[in-house]
């Protein structure tokens, strides 16, 4: 097992969340808002379709040459004065960050928004070392203050209402009056955060796109905290997954256009940061040192399989979760993974192994709402189907390549036997006829409560005669041959 805390019980957490009317109402309202924002940005279906084609091509082209592009990225970064670090595991990535903080003589790090830092559980790691991480993104700040985790990759505190935040600020921030006025709450938060930029020696950020040909790190944000984090402290550490690289600078505008419009419904974010080096001689600001930490953490496992590789096309816009009927019912925390929603269901098995995520691939109706909006056209339902296959295929299955850690985590001999029996009935007309006969003639014997189905529904009522029988009778009356 890759992480220290006890196994998250998705089934229990999601059932609980789905039965919480307040959670359901709040999440639906928030997702409706984000869906409308996105839709307003894409009024022209043809233009959207072409842009998605382009986004998909850019990401697939980059992934097809990923090892080369990563080498090129490293070479360009080093030439620009950015130091590059490679981490296989979350633990290695955390050690690299802590080592750099020690090197900068700093016990404290100020953070811009970074889902990879959540993935490696950096804050937790640093606390255990007696060091401190301060979140500077408003949503992340709220989540940190509440001792929670993000529930959404773009809107980490989307599960909190303004009343929740009003209480939180009043209780946790010194000398803060209670207010439910959103503008005042933002000002309170910004004031609390502002102080921290003056003292922090090390800033950490994520990366939205890393450009191989120029060694440029692109970071989009709306609060200015990203720019402060990456420019005010002496040292800037950027951390990202190895899949975020693109080939050329010209690939950036379409990716950003897809990202910001899909994520928050903005044509462009308030800040677009393009970081290509530390402070140069004669420059008046900027960090003395810039470090790039490139994390694998299971991504190369997805990369090794051509179908699963499509998972890595993701640009982390969150549109799939905003449009997901399951996410809308259960919210982000129920998943128990850093990345919730549809993208979380297909990436988490690579990060954590299928044993720790075995209930995620089945938690979908395969409705396709996610792939319909995915800006880079990841076929999420197809990948869920593939992960379902991997999770019920035992490790010792002959002629089955071992591609996903934890393969066979859902394998049960009894379930396999049931499906085998099912296939036998449905592939042999005589057996199917007998089961049809039983279902229709014995329909009165069906108990009132048929387990999970009747939680929300009356028991299903078979007809008195099957279509097979009705057709035979109809054809007899018409004088037709069956």
């Amino acid at each position: 097992m890759s992480h220290s805390h006890p196994l998250h019980d998705f089934r229990a957490a999601s059932s609980h969340a789905a039965q919480d009317p307040t959670q359901r109402h709040n999440t639906r309202a928030a997702m409706d808002f984000l869906m409308q924002r996105r839709a307003a940005q894409f009024p022209d279906a043809d233009e959207l379709s072409r842009l998605r084609d382009l986004g998909q091509r850019i990401r697939q082209r980059a992934l097809s040459r990923l090892p080369l592009l990563l080498e090129q990225l490293e070479a360009r970064c080093v030439a620009n004065g950015i130091q590059v670090h490679w981490a296989d595991t979350p633990a290695e990535a955390c050690e690299i960050v802590a080592g750099l903080m020690r090197q900068a003589n700093s016990q404290e790090i100020i953070k811009g928004k970074s889902m990879v830092s959540e993935e490696i559980e950096l804050n937790h790691f640093l606390e255990a070392q007696g060091m401190t991480a301060l979140e500077s993104d408003m949503g992340e700040f709220i989540v940190q203050l509440a001792h929670e985790k993000p529930s959404h990759i773009i809107m980490p505190a989307i599960h909190k209402t303004k009343v929740d935040i009003a209480h939180l600020f009043h209780d946790e921030l010194p000398r803060t009056p209670y207010t439910e006025d959103v503008d005042e709450l933002i000002q309170i938060g910004r004031h609390a955060l502002r102080q921290r930029f003056f003292t922090a020696k090390v800033g950490l950020s994520g990366v939205n796109v890393a450009v191989a040909e120029t060694g440029t790190l692109v970071l989009v944000e709306n609060e200015g905290n990203g720019r402060l984090t990456t420019s005010a402290p002496e040292m800037h550490i950027a951390i990202t997954g190895i899949e975020k690289v693109v080939e050329k600078l010209e690939d950036v505008p379409p990716i950003l256009s897809l990202l910001t419009r899909s994520a928050t419904g903005q044509p462009i974010t308030t800040y677009v940061n393009m970081i290509s080096s530390p402070r140069k001689a004669g420059e008046k600001d900027g960090p003395q040192q810039v470090h790039l930490v490139l994390l694998d953490n299971g991504r190369s496992q997805a990369y090794a399989d051509l179908q699963l590789r499509e998972t890595l096309q993701c640009i982390r816009c969150g549109a799939c979760m905003n449009h997901c009927p399951v996410y809308t019912r259960i919210g982000g925390h129920a998943y128990g993974t850093t990345y919730p929603g549809p993208i979380g269901k297909i990436i988490s098995p690579h990060l954590l192994g299928l044993d720790d995520t075995k209930d995620l691939p089945s938690a979908s109706t395969l409705c396709g709402a996610c792939s319909e909006v995915c800006p880079v056209r990841i076929p999420i339902p197809e990948l869920l189907l593939r992960l379902r296959q991997e999770s019920v295929t035992p490790e010792n299955e002959p002629n089955h390549p071992h591609t996903v850690r934890g393969q066979g985590a859902k394998y049960r001999a009894t379930e396999k036997w049931l499906w085998r029996s099912w296939a036998r009935i449905y592939s042999q007309p005589v057996l199917y006829r007998a089961s049809r006969f039983a279902a229709t003639r014995l329909r009165g014997l069906l108990p009132h409560d048929v387990g999970a189905w009747t939680i929300a529904r009356a028991k299903p009522q078979p007809a008195a005669k099957s279509l097979h029988e009705l057709v035979a009778e109809y054809q007899a009356t018409q004088g037709n041959q069956p």
């Binding site: 039965q19 979908s364 109706t365 296959q389 036998r424 279509l467």
Partner: protein
């Protein structure tokens, strides 16, 4: 458009077979009225989707093979569900990827039509509404909408009926929460989804729900029944046949 075929096969689907069999008879009558001979192979059963979507490919293949054998020849196969049609048209070829049956699966997939798709695009059917005025809501399954792209053909058929008013419901494009085995593997998430779907359908004030997918109807009708609501969903084949057959033929 090439001239319509003289003969088609009907694939009823396992859910229609047991739970909504009249939809199959209505579909046969609609097709026959257009001068088409309809064959219903008694050896048919299920498209194999339950096993396929649960990850059991070997089992799905044996059931798929049985259907390909039952529907030999090259006549079009009209399917009473967008979801099963999607399975047969879009997933059979990949299900047999790299296997000797792949050519057969591709040829089979090319013969698949969802019912409303066949009625509009192949037959260009003209309907005359003989029923009483009614307000209805259309529920389109996710596979019909996104995989088969046949929501428009259901709409086109309903729009031909003068006395039928089609009303929109809230979050119409959202899944009803059935999802095959999902409904029992994750029953509370599924319950939350079907609760919202039935609330939206009830709130739009229609007398009837129409859908071209009986799996969704099994879910939606089951929830409506449990809630004690009078509203029900009906397969579009039944709805179309009942509204367009001559009055004396009714009862």
């Amino acid at each position: 458009m090439t001239s319509p075929p003289k003969t088609v096969y009907l694939f009823g689907t396992c859910i229609v077979d047991i739970f909504f069999p009249t939809a199959g008879i209505s579909a046969i009558k609609l097709l026959e009225r257009e001068g088409i001979e309809v064959r219903y192979p008694q050896a048919q059963s299920c498209c194999g989707q339950p096993a396929y979507s649960s990850g059991y490919l070997t089992e799905a293949r044996s059931v798929a093979m049985a259907q390909m054998m039952a529907f030999s020849g090259d006549e079009p196969i009209v399917v009473l569900s967008g979801s099963c049609a999607g399975m047969m048209k879009h997933h059979y070829p990949s299900l047999f990827d790299g296997l000797p049956q792949q050519t057969q699966a591709r040829a089979f997939a090319a013969r698949i039509y969802e019912l409303t798709e066949f009625l509009t695009k192949v037959l260009d059917i003209k309907l005359c509404d003989l029923g009483q005025p009614v307000e209805i809501a259309l529920h389109t399954s996710c596979a019909a909408r996104r995989e088969m792209g046949v929501r428009d053909t259901s709409l086109a058929l309903l729009n031909q009926l003068d006395k039928v008013v089609l009303k929109q419901h809230d979050h119409e494009a959202e899944c009803c929460g059935f999802g095959g085995t999902f409904s029992v593997r994750h029953p509370h998430i599924s319950a939350a989804m079907v609760e919202d779907k039935t609330s939206a359908l009830k709130a739009c004030g229609v007398q009837q729900v129409v859908s071209a997918d009986c799996a969704c109807l099994l879910n939606i009708n089951g929830a409506l029944e449990k809630q004690g609501a009078a509203l029900r969903g009906q397969h579009i084949a039944d709805f179309l046949w009942q509204r367009t057959q001559h009055v004396e033929a009714k009862q």
